[in-house]
């Protein structure tokens, strides 16, 4: 139970970073932390007590295994977050080129 609470606390740390930080690069890092928290939550959900890793091996009897489905979901989620992070980094580089700063309080030409 304490593990789930800590995982949720990590998610909140990432969310706090994304909302309050002023530097573009810190926002991107905070989005990474939030992604890690969600992936960790998935893997924690799949855990079963006294169970082995979910890989069959030749010659050995089939043991009780942890749930492999959340691990497949985590793989997909990592790929998606990789794409989002690379897009955010490309946008950050372009923004630096146009506005000459990484500070989001300076990047405010759209108002109203």
């Amino acid at each position: 139970m304490i593990l789930y609470a800590l995982c949720f606390a990590l998610f909140l740390v990432g969310l706090y970073g994304m909302i309050t930080k002023r530097d573009l690069v810190k926002i991107i890092l905070a989005s990474g932390v939030m992604g890690y928290a969600v992936n960790l939550m998935f893997v924690l959900i799949g855990y079963r007590q006294q169970a082995a890793y979910p890989i069959l091996e030749p010659g050995k009897p089939v043991p009780a295994m942890v749930d492999p489905l959340p691990q497949a979901l985590v793989l997909t989620s990592i790929v998606i977050e990789l794409g989002v992070t690379s897009l955010l980094v490309a946008l950050a580089i372009r923004l630096f080129q146009k506005y000459k700063t990484f500070d989001i309080t300076q990047i405010r030409r759209l108002r109203g």
Binding site: I27, I45, L91, A92, K98
Partner: protein
Amino acid sequence: MILPTFIIIPLLAAFLIVLFGGRHDRGAVIISGAAAASLTALAVVVFFGGRTEAAVYAMGAWKVPLGISLVLDPLSSVMLVMVSLITLTSLLFSVAYMRHLEGEAKYYALLMTLVAGMNGVILTSDIFNLFVFMEIALFAAFALVAYGGRAQEYEAAFKYAVMGSISSSLILFAIAVVYSGTSALSMSAIAAALPQKDLLLTFWAGGLFLAGFGLKAAVMPFHAWLPDAHSSAPAPISAMLSGVLIKTLGVYALIRVFFNVLGAPPLFLQAFLVLGAVSILVGNILAVGQWDFKRLLAYSSIGQVGYILLAAGLGTPLGMAGAVFHMINHAIFKSLLFYNSGALETALGTRDLRQMGNVSKLLPVTAQTSMVASLAIAGIPPFNGFFSKLLIIIAAVQAGQPFYALAAVVGSLFTIAAFMKVQRYGLRSERPAGPLQAKVSWGMNAAMVVLAVLCIVTSLMIVPGIREATLDPAVKVVMEKAQLWLTVFGK
């Protein structure tokens, strides 16, 4: 048999454009035009095919609940027709508009990826698959918002990407909560297992889903990305985003998850009502104060999505019919308004209403169709906006929520004010317009005329005979709530 083709055709078009596109956009235009035309034909054939029961397609030959199934029920077919029609007109418009910017093949590949993602969201019956297709569509949307290359577009795209990734993480967290409780990912299995579990699970999952999908649909507390993103994107992309993306990824996913999976708990319907009413009022009030044409349209989109959410939150069949009808209507007239702004921007070089003049002689098609669209969105009979707003207001009164009906009426008054402002200052003012900077090509005019005709034609959907054939099956699908999966999968 034809269900995966809705996803395969645009995806294949996107891959072929990347493979063979090169620098010129002629091959890209041909491939994507063929894809969009075939999608529209398929969607119309499926919609009018007359089947009111659902079709199921098991991907990879794995049956539910082990595998992912694509499900086509009447609500999905309505959305498919909407998406493919707006895509076709957007392609017609883009050919000339993007050549004015810098026509490259990547734009068409991204547009096809967007369509593939949206079709996947509409057709799937597995929650994680919904998330994956939603992310595919969102990548394409982020890249398309930043396509023009000016400073404001990057800023808007960054804001959109940051808020999009927050909402995606929230949705993923909700999927984790649901999976831990019911250990199933397919919507039918979740709907069957959820009533036996703790009510706290539904509450947590519903709250996280509401935050996540609500951010995608730009309901009121989470709307901050929409004015920047929709006003900075190129005009055909703004039409796609505002016309179909926020409705497919946001409102359709909300309706599907909350009605068919979570079983429409009354707490969340009350939340829909409140958020919808707030969106209506604030969106339309803020729209009146804008001088930038596209920003006004973006704020008006927030208001109209509030109408759809209010109608969905009523929980009655009449309210749901109003919601589905308003989804279709808003897609048509809001896309038309964005095409008008694109044509005006091409011809006059500005988006500011104070600098436009009287264009009814110079750009007759643009002026007439913008009048049609403004009357439709303001809710003047005989255009389609009047009928859908009337349905929503009557449904609110009948469901015993007169306060929300009053909010809908007040919002409608503000909408009329905003669009009278557009017509008065922008298109029919006394000053003569400036010199034409570029011609508005036949593709743009054709797209606008098609949508304007549809504005009038879809108001026929309220006629009782046609309504039974088109709207009522979609409403019945949503009203069946969690029992839908029993009829679909026959278990």
